[in-house]
C-alpha cells in the first residue's frame, strides 16, 4: 500500500557539499527577518517491501526560510524533495526532528491555516468545476461561506481562470490545472505557499505565466517555497536556494554561487564562415552546421574573447553569444572542495 520512494531509497552517506553548509541553512543575509519555516534535524524513513525493511529517505535535514522570500528548493528526481515538502505541508509527521511553520508545529491546525500547498502534478476530483473545487477547499480551510464566495472571484481572476470557472476540471489543460492548483492554495490567503514542482509539464509559455504568477504572489508579502529540478525556473525568480541530493542537504545559498560551481560554457552562433574554417579556430568545440549559420561551444570565459576575435578576423557575422547554463546533474558531477561527488 505504501509507496517506497524509488531513488531516494538509494541514499548514500557520501554526498559532497557544493557550498559550505551553515549550522542551519539560512539563506538571506538579512537575519533580522523572522523565519517562516524551520526544519531541524529531520529524518524520514519508510518501511517497504514484503519484509517491511526500513529505508531512510531524509537524513538530518536542516533548513530555515526567512519570511517574505522566494526560496527555491532544487534537487534531481528522487532526491527527497517531495518527501520533505509533504512534511512541511503537514501531511505527515517526520520520523524524527522538528518542522515549524510560523513558529507552529507543521502538522498542527495553526500551521496548516498559514500554509497553502500545491502538490506535484495536482490531482483534483475532476467532476468538480473550478468554482466547485474552490468552494470545497474553502470549507475545508474553515472559511465561512460568505468569505468563500467573496474570495473565489478574486483568486480566479488572479490566476486567469474567471472564464473557465464553471468548466469541469477534466476539461482543463495541464496549465489550467496548475493555475487552479495555485488558486486553491491561496484561497484562504495563507502567508506561506509551498509549491511542489509548479512548472512541471508546462510548455514555455505556461512556465513564463507561472513564474509571473509566483512573483506576483510574493509581491503581496507571502513567503514562497517551491521545488524544481530545473535550474532556469529557480534562477529566474529566486535569490536563494537549497539543494538536496539523496536525502541530504548539500548546499544552501544564492543561486549564482551554485551556477558558478558548474561548468561554464558559452554558445556562439555565427555566419559567413564555412564549417571547415570554423573547426580550425582555437577554442571552438562541438561545431554544428545549422540552416542559419554555425553554432559552437566555447569552454571557459577567457576563451570567448579569443574565439570572437578570430571569428571577426575571418569576417564572420556574429548572430548571438549566449552563456549555457549547466544542468543540475552537471553541477552535482562537479568536484567540490577538491573532491568529486561520488
Amino acid at each position: 500500500m505504501r509507496r517506497c520512494p524509488a531513488r531516494a531509497s538509494a541514499a548514500s552517506n557520501t554526498s559532497t557539499p557544493l557550498l559550505p553548509l551553515p549550522a542551519a541553512c539560512t539563506t538571506l543575509a538579512d537575519t533580522a527577518m523572522p523565519n517562516m519555516l524551520e526544519v531541524e534535524k529531520v529524518d524520514q524513513h519508510f518501511r517497504c517491501g514484503f519484509l517491511m525493511r526500513r529505508t531512510q529517505v531524509l537524513h538530518a535535514v536542516e533548513l530555515r526560510v526567512p519570511a517574505k522570500s522566494i526560496f527555491g528548493f532544487l534537487g534531481p528526481n528522487g532526491a527527497g524533495k517531495t518527501t520533505l515538502i509533504t512534511l512541511i505541508a503537514g501531511l505527515r509527521k517526520p520520523s524524527s526532528g522538528v518542522i515549524k511553520v510560523g513558529g507552529h508545529d507543521a502538522t498542527g491546525t495553526a500551521a496548516r491555516m498559514k500554509t497553502g500547498y500545491l502538490p506535484e502534478r495536482p490531482y483534483f476530483h475532476d467532476h468538480l468545476t473550478g468554482e466547485g473545487l474552490l468552494k470545497y477547499v474553502g470549507t475545508l480551510s474553515g472559511m465561512s461561506r460568505p468569505k468563500i464566495l467573496a474570495r473565489i472571484p478574486k483568486v480566479l481572476s488572479l490566476v486567469g481562470l474567471t472564464e473557465a470557472r464553471r468548466v469541469e476540471l477534466r476539461k482543463y489543460s495541464k496549465g489550467m490545472l496548475q493555475r487552479i492548483g495555485i488558486a486553491q492554495a491561496i484561497l484562504h490567503d495563507p502567508e506561506f505557499l509551498v509549491l511542489d514542482e509548479p512548472m512541471s509539464g508546462l510548455d514555455p509559455l505556461g512556465r513564463k505565466e507561472m513564474r509571473e504568477l509566483i512573483v506576483g504572489l510574493a509581491a503581496g508579502g507571502r513567503t514562497i517555497f517551491f521545488s524544481s529540478h530545473i535550474i532556469t525556473d529557480v534562477e529566474a525568480i529566486c535569490d536563494n536556494v537549497a539543494v538536496i541530493n539523496k536525502g541530504r542537504m548539500i548546499g544552501c545559498g544564492p543561486i549564482g554561487e551554485f551556477l558558478s560551481k558548474g561548468p561554464v560554457k558559452t554558445e556562439i552562433a555565427f555566419a559567413g564562415v564555412d564549417a571547415a574554417a570554423a573547426r580550425g579556430i582555437d577554442g571552438l568545440e562541438q561545431v554544428r552546421e545549422m540552416p542559419d549559420g554555425i553554432r559552437a561551444l566555447v569552454p571557459g570565459q577567457e576563451a570567448v574573447g579569443r574565439a570572437l576575435t578570430q571569428l571577426l578576423d575571418l569576417k564572420a557575422r556574429i548572430l548571438w553569444v549566449n552563456p549555457v547554463r549547466p544542468s543540475l546533474e552537471e553541477i552535482f558531477e562537479q568536484p567540490a572542495g577538491g573532491r568529486r561527488a561520488p
Binding site: M1, A89, R92, H125, L128, T139, L140, S141
Partner: protein, 270 residues
C-alpha cells in the same frame, strides 16, 4: 469550553458535509453504480416471471425476490464503492488537497463514509419505491395484506445492514487494496449472516477449534439481526425493541469501523 466544543462540532460537521458531498457526486458518476441499478431492476422484474411459474403463493415469490434484489443491490453498492474509496483518494493523491488543510484523517474518512451512505440510501430509496410500486401493481392478494409493518421493518433493516457493510468496506480499504477489501467485506458479510450456524458448529466441534469458532462468532458483526427471513414472508410482527436494538447495533458497528478506519488511515502514504 462549551463554546469551543460547539465550534469544534460545527467545524467537523462542515468538513464531513463537504467531503461527503464531493464523494456523493463522485460515486454518482461511477458506471458501476448504474450497472448495479440495472441488475437490481432486472431482478425485481425476474420476480414477476418467477411468480408465474409458482402454483401457489405467487405474491410471496414476488415479495422474496424483491427483498433479495434490494438487499443484493444495496450490499453491492456499499461494498464495491466503499472498498475503493480511500485507496483511490491516496493513489490519485486527491487526498492531499484535503489533508493539507486543518482536516484530520478521521474527519476525512467520516466524510467519505457520509458520501457513500448517501449513495446507498439513494439507491435504497429508488429501489424500495420501485419494489413497492411493483408489489402494488402485481400483487393478486392485495398490497395491504402483503406489505405490513414487518415488510417495512425489513426494508429499513436492509438499509442498516448495507450501511454496516459500507463502513466495513471503508475500514478494510484503510489498510489493504481495493480487491482485498471487497473480499474481506464479502467474507465478513457471509459469515456474519450465518452466525447461528457458526455457534452450532462451535458446539458440535468442541475443543480448541470450537472455542476459536465461538470467539469468531462473538467478534464478527452479526448480520443475522438484519435478516427477518420468513417473518416477512408470513407477516410475523416485529417488536419495536428488536428494531431499536438492531439499529443501535448497526450504529455501533458503523461508528467503530469509521473510527478504526480513521486511525489506520493515519499510516497511509500521504
Amino acid at each position: 469550553m462549551k463554546q469551543s466544543v460547539r465550534e469544534s462540532a460545527i467545524r467537523t460537521f462542515e468538513i464531513v458535509r463537504a467531503v461527503g458531498r464531493v464523494t456523493f457526486l463522485e460515486i454518482i458518476r461511477d458506471k458501476v453504480l448504474y450497472n448495479i441499478a440495472v441488475i437490481s431492476f432486472l431482478l425485481l422484474g425476474a420476480g414477476i416471471l418467477a411468480s408465474r411459474l409458482a402454483i401457489l403463493k405467487q405474491d410471496r415469490v414476488i415479495l422474496d425476490f424483491g427483498l433479495t434484489a434490494l438487499t443484493l443491490s444495496c450490499m453491492l453498492v456499499a461494498v464495491l464503492c466503499g472498498a475503493g474509496m480511500l485507496g483511490r483518494e491516496f493513489d490519485r493523491r486527491t487526498v492531499y488537497v484535503a489533508l493539507s488543510r486543518p482536516v484530520s484523517r478521521l474527519q476525512f474518512v467520516a466524510g467519505k463514509f457520509a458520501g457513500l451512505a448517501a449513495v446507498v440510501a439513494l439507491n435504497w430509496l429508488l429501489l424500495a419505491a420501485a419494489y413497492i410500486a411493483l408489489l402494488a401493481l402485481a400483487a393478486h392478494g392485495g398490497f395491504g395484506q402483503l406489505a405490513g409493518g414487518t415488510f417495512f421493518c425489513a426494508l429499513f433493516l436492509v438499509l442498516a445492514q448495507a450501511l454496516m457493510a459500507g463502513a466495513l468496506a471503508v475500514f478494510f480499504s484503510s489498510f489493504t487494496t481495493t480487491s482485498l477489501a471487497v473480499v474481506f467485506t464479502a467474507g465478513v458479510w457471509i459469515i456474519g449472516s450465518n452466525v447461528s450456524q457458526l455457534r452450532w458448529l462451535a458446539v458440535k466441534t468442541g475443543g480448541g477449534l470450537g472455542g476459536a469458532l465461538d470467539v469468531l462468532a462473538l467478534m464478527i458483526p452479526n448480520f443475522e439481526y438484519f435478516n427477518l427471513g420468513l417473518k416477512v414472508t408470513y407477516g410475523v410482527p416485529v417488536t419495536w425493541l428488536y428494531m431499536t436494538a438492531s439499529l443501535a447495533y448497526a450504529v455501533f458497528v458503523v461508528l467503530l469501523a469509521v473510527l478504526l478506519a480513521g486511525m489506520l488511515a493515519r499510516g497511509k502514504e500521504g
